[in-house]
Amino acid sequence: MSDISQSAMKLPGITAANAAPWLIATLFLLVLPFIFSANSAITIMNQMAITIIFALAYNMLLGQGGMLSFGHAVYLGAGGFMCMHIMNYVEDYSLPLPLPLLPLFGGIFGLGLATIVGAFSTRSAGTVFAMISLGIGELLAACSIIIVAFFGGEEGIPGDRTYGLPFFGVEFLQQIEVYYLIIFWLVLSALLMFLFSRTPAGRMANAVRDNPERAEFLGYSARRVRYISFCASGFFAGIAGGLLAINLEILTGEDLGLLLSGEILLITFLGGVGFFFGPIIGAIVFTLLKTVLGLETELWQLYVGALFVATVMYFPGGFAGVLMMHAPSAKLGKLKLLVVPYIKTLVPAFFAVMGAAGFFEIMFHMRHAAVGEEEMTIFWTTFNSHSVLPTAVTIGVTVVGFWLAKRSAPDMAAAWHASITPNKPAGASAGERPADSQAQGGGS
């Protein structure tokens, strides 16, 4: 039930319908730098693309295999550091290794580490797997500071991607050249990961996730199936690490630390673990939240944390889950039914969330701004943060918005149920699964 249900066990033949999203996405990625040509935009897009690969790799574990890992950055970091060393080695001895092939070595190293760790950690999913991944994560993070020869200690390992011979005239001096290199690997890895989920091994990973005992009775070793997914995931995480090495030209302990491991869990879950494209949305949204929201407010982590908790509580399917909830309505051509109820609930909910955010911003400004600087600007309004009125307004907006949203939420749920029901039996199954609105307001 996880993936877009297509052909069950046979490898998909290439049809126009199958290939279209991929071709459109590739084309879009190719022209993107012409739309956003600033170097910083390209740097952010590079970062985003690498995060997408990593999140997709992580979802091979969490979404497809049901394995919760708290230390997956280890494989990204291991691959990245190896690539850094190869990069420096190739430069020192002027070996003829073209740069675009480098991430492959990162992948191989990530795979190597995964084969070792997976050999004992994939015995069961659930808590044991999660705890072993946490332990390994802590161990390697500690090693990254102690073993200076490989990890370079706190400064990390720097390198220069412009080593050696130009690759068909490209020297990789500029970010834009790196962008196309990363895009090539992004499309290739995403395609491979997608195809993997369609192979018998990928299908069995789902089966083992949902019911390991049943899979065992069918003659599949649950452990073996998990092991294969785990190794494949390590491989693609390693590729992401190799690309990171090329993009940043420096790798430090933070690139395999627990913080990054936690972040990728957050990204993947926000995006939605149930669908292949979920982590892609998660990576894009999170990177943007981090950069755009991070520019706007010091409290961005608070908002992201709240968004995350709300998602887990109300929408365990993540953004992708919310999107796909509407697929049946779209198929039935009943999306129109939803417009008015959605506006009625989501608009007040949106104002409630913004009001709450405004309240937090005012509190923060009151406490931290310099003496005499009492003016602050949020939502294009400038006012004195020490006066009572703005605070009262934010509280009022929050309360009223919340109340309105809560009042109309049952109608919205009913409308949704009606929209996915083929032959309108007047509001029959309403209230069975309330699609709560507040979190959705925060997510949009």
């Binding site: 069961s124 044991v128 999660a130 500690a142 102690i146 073993i147 608070l302 709240a306 995350f308």
Partner: protein, 318 residues
């Protein structure tokens, strides 16, 4: 010799502190089958609340009020958060508590800022209880030992000797039967979660002045608490006690030792390289045991999970 005796006491203090945290966590796990990732965050909240109370009323009221507040918050989290997520399965539950831990850390930073708080031990305990060699053991440490042992005894008494304890124990194994007997099992769950987090709150109140009250304190201690209950065996109170003391002494003695890995290399017949930078083993040559002391529990955990997945005293696999 003196130093070893002092280390035994210090290890005991640290181990008992870990136990106060892991007791609540293991209780919650045995009840609901979920590892509460945010457990250490409640420990942090305990310390911050107690600090805030101590600013106006002194240390002792904080010791009483802060854990109560934390316990109520914990019960609310169970009632309105965890119970809702429960329907989606164990992995989302774990992820929910993970998110909660993030959120609590952000909220603490929002309200108290990122600086370390000047949360101090009560004045009547600010003297050296006794000295061994040149090392003095503060009265506060003695208080910590007594406080945690009495909490353990009280917990043991409630769980094994009272009616409430019987219901809880029964609800652990046969929730449906207990419910059929007319007990309100969801209420029991909420109560256990509240008590478990309140215990973490007590630990925070007591440890805050000793180990520092700052936003990183939850993360710093959080993962080691999981390690403790995983090593001890999930759901086993005695296992948690054993593992806490084991880890307390392990880290203390590792930090106190002056063992160098170079000794092993020399014993293996290798020669100390003249120029360290050329040797690929240079990091091993300079490595000492105190350097990796805090990581030892993680190694132990991975080892235990590989050889004995249900931990030292756990009855069931996880």
């Amino acid at each position: 010799m003196d130093l070893i005796l002092v280390n035994i006491i210090d290890g005991l203090v640290y181990g008992l502190l870990l136990f106060m945290l892991s007791a609540g966590l293991t209780l919650i796990f045995s009840m609901m089958g979920v590892l509460n990732f945010a457990h250490a965050s409640f420990y942090m909240l305990g310390a911050y609340f107690a600090y805030q109370i101590s600013q106006t009323m002194g240390f002792w009221p904080g010791l009483l009020i802060a854990p109560l507040v934390v316990g109520v918050m914990g019960a609310l989290v169970e009632r309105y958060g965890l119970r809702r997520v429960h329907q989606y399965g164990h992995v989302p539950e774990l992820i929910f508590t993970f998110g909660l831990a993030l959120l609590i850390e952000e909220l603490v930073q929002f309200f108290w800022g990122t600086n370390q708080m000047a949360y101090e031990t009560p004045e009547i305990l600010q003297f050296a209880a006794f000295s061994i060699g040149a090392n003095s053991v503060s009265a506060y440490k003695v208080f910590m030992i007594f406080a945690s042992i009495s909490i353990f005894l009280a917990l043991l008494y409630v769980l094994t000797r009272t009616r409430v304890g019987m219901v809880i124990q029964a609800a652990l194994s046969y929730p449906k039967t207990v419910e059929a007997l007319g007990h309100n099992v969801p209420l029991v769950f909420m109560g256990v979660f509240g008590v478990g987090t309140a215990l973490a709150g007590v630990a925070g109140v007591i440890a805050g002045p000793q180990l520092g009250t700052f936003p990183g304190m939850a993360i710093l201690l959080g993962s080691i608490v999981f390690v403790t209950i995983v090593i001890g065996g999930l759901g086993s109170l005695w296992g948690a006690l054993l593992a806490s003391l084991l880890i307390g002494w392990l880290t203390t003695f590792a930090a106190a030792s002056s063992f160098e890995f170079a000794d092993i290399l020399l014993a293996l017949g290798m020669e100390r390289p003249a120029d360290m930078d050329d040797s690929i083993l240079r990091d091993l040559w300079t490595l000492t045991l105190p350097q990796i002391g805090p990581i030892l529990p993680y190694m132990l955990m991975v080892l235990i999970l590989v050889v004995r997945p249900h931990g030292l005293m756990g009855k069931r696999g996880v």
